[in-house]
Symmetry: C2
Subunit: 216 residues, 2 copies
DNA sequence: TCGGCGAGTGAATCAGCGTTCACTGCATTT
DNA sequence: AAATGCAGTGAACGCTGATTCACTCGCCGA
């Protein structure tokens, strides 16, 4: 008499889980992490509060999965963009531009995933994400330094710094929000340019690199 | 018989207020904004919870005053450093280096005042602070651009970006913490260098500028 | 010295939110 | 059709932390 899971049921369960995660995502986009409250998530997913707990053992786990999903996608996109580039500096530029462009597209979510404290448990995860992004960039910086394409510098510091520059310049609370696709594109390019200069690429060269990065 | 406030009483009241604010400050330094809880502040100030409310109408007001105090000092220091510099670029360098050096000295407090969300009310204030810092730098950037000391660029974006770079590179959670005075000095200089490069100062020139900034 | 203002107290209260659990009803099994 | 496993429910609970308020008591004015 142990129940077997019907095709149908399995699909419904998976569907529900997706719906709940999607609700959490939507709330994070709209109101930041603070807006991701179980009651709100449940309501948005047309489900009772208790139901959320059938799918996620705790709010922490829910948010963890949310961040992990976001992080996975972002990192994959950065890697793909970088790996498609012709040389180390191009790769670096592509990496930065991709991160910037994608972050800009979902400002609130990116900001929440990268910067908004929730609790100690989650903080670790968020830092992991940030760490991964920084590490990805740091690796590219090192390669470029080795190839004498960038001046000697402490990549351990430069990497977080340029991530910070991109985040603050583009999606931070003070950043002017570009309206229109062209403006967004321009903003991404300017930010990338600034980041490359920060790492020691001379202006003219940086301009050329930025111009060549294919933006999504 | 309406009471007059004795010299003595007035002093004691002022003293208490200072003590409470100082307790809040200490907690922010030790545990970040999350650690600034009324009960904790009260205990640290050797006072009952209720007493805190004799001096500050709400926790929000307490934190607001804390941030305002910090912000005032930081801005004043930045202005002083910049105004003492010989030229626009030096002023910019001094501004950045001063912000960086002071932020590094009290990492946790600076981070808390600049980045840690508390509530919507406070967020506004925190943003004001950030805004002021960015504005200070933005003004110096504009001056430098006008004098053709920096390439054309959107200062509205560059300013937050370099602030972000400094914060993340130096006091962000990923930043390596320098140990020892010399290392700290070095870190500040490297960060300033990076920020100047980001704005378009060529490496060699930036190095010279940074070397000349007197660090506190 | 004595009456009383008001600073100081801290236990109680309130509020927000995550989490639980006894219960409901649908779908599967027999 | 009856029995029952299991997803779903949502009111109630518990915790954390801000805020209140009835009361105490030290100091000022007379």
């Amino acid at each position: 008499m142990p129940y077997r899971r019907t095709e149908n049921i399995v699909r419904r369960l998976a569907e529900r889980e997706r719906t709940i995660l999607e609700a959490a995502r939507a709330l994070a986009i709209e109101h930041g992490m603070a807006g991701v409250q179980i009651a709100a998530v449940a309501e948005r997913a047309h489900v009772a509060a208790g139901t959320v707990y059938r799918y996620f053992p705790s709010k922490t786990d829910l948010i963890a999965e949310l961040i992990a999903t976001v992080a996975g996608k972002e990192l994959a996109a950065m890697r793909a963009a970088a790996d498609a580039a012709p040389g180390p500096l191009s790769a670096l530029a592509a990496c930065l531009a991709t991160f910037a462009a994608r972050a800009l597209r979902t400002r609130k979510l990116a900001w929440a995933a990268v910067a908004e404290p929730v609790d100690a448990e989650i903080d670790t995860l968020r830092l992991d994400f940030r760490q991964s992004v920084a590490a990805e960039i740091e690796a590219r910086i090192r390669t470029a330094i080795t190839g004498h394409l960038l001046p000697e510098q402490d990549a351990r510091m430069s990497a977080p710094a340029v991530v910070g520059a991109v985040i603050e310049g583009l999606i931070g609370p003070l950043a002017p929000s570009p309206d229109g696709n062209a403006a967004a594109r321009e903003a991404v390019q300017m930010t990338t340019l600034l980041a490359l200069r920060a790492l020691g690429v001379v202006d003219a060269r940086a301009l050329g690199l930025v111009a060549q990065v294919p933006l999504p």
